[in-house]
């Protein structure tokens, strides 16, 4: 019991950091599912591309001794490029791989999604690097480490958590408080009816893809800052876990994806800390199966469509 009490706070913090990353990526799955009822399996790889873009910017700045630019500015630049790049990639994927299939059999876009996923992984592997690439965080962000009683976390971990939560709140406000958000929810509820109401559905879908992919890109940046290393395969398992988080929370439900992500991160951390590292992933997917058996619609019940 002593062991548990001593270690619990640290493992909880570890889990929340990891979970906020899952949540950020899970939001993308849920947004796109909410609008199109399709699973964008390339989403994890969009996150990977975002991470590589940020690593590229960081590497460029440090390599050219432009690191004299203030740390905040360098990080902001990384985020800008990654968000923009990932967002545009998402939009491009929608145009090329999903839009032509919008009225096709439901399986068709699922298969092109897997195709896009494999393409992105292979492209980065062949053209960029088959080995992990360093993000030179030492030169970009202060290596401050916070100690609160016996809990330790680096500055980059705090940045990861705070920014992720801030983005989730902002997204929530965007979807539920703005005109465009209403248009998104209307499209999610009934695409045809939304068209009759004068909503430009194609534009809504494009913006949704941009937002979802930009969030994934941001996740990639935050990951790179926290863990200082990116590789072409990093989106695979994370994508599956974020998808799991989205399903646990109730796919299509934005707040569900956030809570699902955080829960999953904490669960993984606690299982690793107190049961066994070997069983981390086993428990993650056991949680998925349990939720699907007991509450198939996910923890947060109704999908986006019924909430509008």
């Amino acid at each position: 019991m002593d062991y548990f009490l001593q270690n619990f706070p640290q493992q909880l913090v570890n889990g929340l950091e990891l979970g906020s990353l899952y949540a950020l990526v899970a939001l993308g799955y849920t947004l796109i599912y909410g609008i199109l009822e399709m699973l964008n399996f390339a989403h994890g790889d969009v996150y990977m591309v975002g991470a590589f873009l940020a690593a590229g910017v960081a590497g460029f700045l440090v390599h050219n001794e432009v690191a004299a630019v203030p740390a905040g500015l360098a990080v902001a630049l990384m985020m800008l490029v990654a968000i923009g790049g990932a967002g545009l990639l998402g939009v491009g994927i929608e145009r090329v791989a999903y839009r032509p299939l919008r009225n096709a059999n439901r399986l068709a876009p699922l298969i092109t999604a897997i195709g896009v996923s494999l393409f992105l992984e292979s492209a980065v592997q062949v053209w960029i690097s088959p080995a992990p690439v360093l993000v030179p965080t030492n030169a970009l962000v202060p290596q401050t480490v916070f100690h609160v009683s016996n809990v330790v976390t680096p500055l980059t971990g705090v940045i990861l958590f705070v920014l992720a939560v801030a983005l989730m709140v902002a997204l929530d406000a965007f979807v539920f408080r703005t005109r465009f958000g209403s248009a998104m929810r209307a499209t999610a509820q009934d695409r045809e009816a939304a068209t009759f109401m004068g909503i430009d559905v194609d534009r809504v879908i494009l913006v949704t893809f941009f937002l979802a992919s930009a969030l994934a890109g941001m996740g990639g940046v935050l990951f790179g800052l926290r863990y200082a290393s990116v590789d072409f395969f990093m989106g695979y398992l994370l994508g599956i876990k974020a998808f799991t988080a989205a399903v646990i929370g109730g796919i299509g439900n934005i707040r569900g994806a956030m809570v699902g992500g955080l829960l999953l991160g904490v669960l993984e951390s606690l299982v690793g800390g107190f049961i066994s590292s070997q069983f981390q992933d086993t428990f993650v997917f056991l949680a998925l199966i349990t939720v699907l058996l007991i509450r198939p619609q996910g923890l947060f019940g109704q999908p986006l469509t019924d909430r509008a």
Partner: protein, 398 residues
Amino acid sequence: MAQPRILVLIAMAGIGLAACGGGSTNGAAANKPDKVQIAAEGPFTGDQASIGAGALKAITLAVNDFNKAGGVNGTQVQLVIWDDQHSPQVAQTLQAAGIADPTVLGIVGPMNSGVVLGSVTGLQGATPPLPFVSESASNTKVTDSGWSVAHRVNARDDAQGPADAKFMIDQGAKKVYVMDAKSDYSTALADQTEAYLKAHNIPTMRDQAKATQTDFSTTIQKIKSFAADWVYFADEGPEAAPFVSQMKQQGLTIGQNINFLGTDGEEDASIITKSQGAYDGAYATNITADPAGVSGSAAAAYVTAYKAAYGPDSLSSAGPFYGSAYEAAQTLLQAIKNSPVKNGKISRADVISHLASDTFTTIFGSVKFDAKGDVTGGGIYVYKATGSNMVVVKQVSG
């Protein structure tokens, strides 16, 4: 210990057989084979490219050097590249092409023990069997299972595990956190090390990393809680950099309040860069020698040639096996060259018997395989991450 004597007898029998079967090796030298191919197999791309990419460059260089020196009686050796991505399934598919082509005479690789164990029955079952010389597969089963196709130039787990454990004990280890990376190679090695530590009354705690794991915060908290003074991580390499970076971030600084011993894949200077210096002061043992770290003019000449071929900075990304890969290629090529040519063809069966009987000249001196396919006198080397290099601090003979 009656075993060595038996080995000698078997080895002598092998030489006898080869002498009978081969006939006059010198006489065959005038005979030019039509086509000679060897394969390089390993994880050349993917998450373990850090160990594979440098090895492939080394093998390519070895084949080029061999061809420049005249090849096999004037025939240039062609290198085919099998990128198995450390998957036995991929390996089997690639090997099937080689098994079907009698001019593919041998494999340099596979590099991963798991790949060897998952594909060796196909190589052994082929007619004639397709021999391989691995530069890095260290699981004991690779050569202990009686396969005539199996050879390796590196030392074995049962030499490395105890050597690693003994090194930590000699350095004053009190409590060791033993980790592996869930692979045939790393789990077996960590078992050996842990068993030795336990037998010497050193408390251990066992944990596992996952392939391509990047978040180690949970594990690090457990290390702190266990109050380990040494972390032992048997790994192919890619997980080490994020692991040690996060150790530092969470207050465990190598050389100050924690010591770190890695294995082959972690004898890699690029980890120092990738961990942004957090790896400085860590130790790693390697089952093969680093040509840049041993004395000997052949090894030094090879290092110069490698840099000339791949650039002055190429050693930092050459990985731990760029020496043993060249060495393994040298043994296989010489065995092929020593084999008789009949009607423009060399038989794989002859290559196998020459691998068993001959003594080879390599960048690390002369090499001979014992009856099981292990090299005699393979050493374990201890390296320390110092500045931007891995520097040999100790050699433990095998």
